[in-house]
Amino acid sequence: MAPTPLTVLTPVPLWWSLWVRFTWLAAAVTGGLVQKRLRGLSFIHFAHWSLVARWPRDPAVSADEAAPRTLVFLTNFDGSDIQYIDAFVRVVPDQIEALYGGARGFPGPFRFRPVAKYIADHSHAVDHFYAAHPDATTTAVAQALELRRRFDDFERRMAGADDATFAREWEQFLTAAQDLV
């Protein structure tokens, strides 16, 4: 099943946009600790947050005074958006609060239904979506990469091995990697 794309635009006041920038700075300083926790959800291919302070950004185009500062969330994930939001609410409510706590109309991160409605109200249909490996889940990709790393190591070690050694090591390799194959 191909990943699901989600585009969510959330209006935020100036003070909150400053706070959000601060949290990103803090996340960068912690050397990826926040990302690690979110990556642990294991169904996110890519997720990006950006801030738009001026619509459009191009200074050659007159500013759109009707469009407020906006937190842009672009993500691709395995499964349905319901599963995705549910996991966020259960696993990383603090991170959601840190990003969306001051967003206009945000109902708080702790209850699934209001968050799901909020996201539905602020999401935008993707007209065209492309995935290079549409059938590969995030977990499948991570496992395949880990398998390749172990396999490369195995192949290096087996250069010049005799038949008996190879057969023994092959069995051990397969046993250790069976969850990845």
Partner: protein, 168 residues
């Protein structure tokens, strides 16, 4: 270590009254062909193209083009410009001041003016290029097939079959 991928996000305002034409161009030039123009550029992991309306009453519609691509981004953008010029022009041609993809320098300037910096990212496999992912998935399949067909072989047969597979 530098990340193997870069994020690319462009948000550009659509000229007044041309949002439906931009959507139609996406349907015609990006959705309808059997192969997405994003695939033609090479190094595109995931990408999206959409026309959206910013929050706020009376705000004007924009085109959002976003992609996660093999680093470096500049090389991917140039490939994209070269191989998907017609498809890009069909959609971005409805955006303000878009110069067209035929002039590389003007195209790069327009992209830079409309590019949205990414503040925070979570990436499933941040160290893997598209080729790494493709090779790993292919190896997994080959390895599974090899393991299946070599069950119950003697040590000598197994080793010979292995060499044949790896030398092929």
């Amino acid at each position: 270590m530098a990340a193997a991928t870069d994020a690319f996000v462009v948000l550009a305002r659509v000229r007044a009254g041309e949002a439906d034409a931009a959507r139609a161009a996406i349907a015609e030039r990006w959705e309808r062909p059997p192969r997405s123009p994003f695939a033609a550029a090479g190094g595109t992991h995931l990408a999206r193209l959409q026309v959206l309306k910013p929050p706020g009453r009376g705000s004007r519609e924009c085109v959002l083009l976003a992609a996660d691509v093999d680093a470096p981004l500049a090389a991917w953008l140039e490939r994209m410009r070269a191989v998907a010029a017609t498809a890009l022009d069909a959609v971005l041609g409805h955006c303000a001041f878009y110069p067209g993809a035929s002039d590389p320098a003007a195209f790069r300037r327009w992209v830079a003016a409309n590019r949205l910096p990414v503040g925070f990212s979570v990436i499933g496999s941040p160290d893997a290029t598209l080729a790494d992912v493709g090779a790993a998935l292919a190896l997994r399949d080959e390895l599974g097939a090899f393991a299946e067909r070599t069950q119950r072989m003697s040590a000598a047969e197994l080793h010979t079959t292995w060499r044949e597979w790896r030398d092929a």
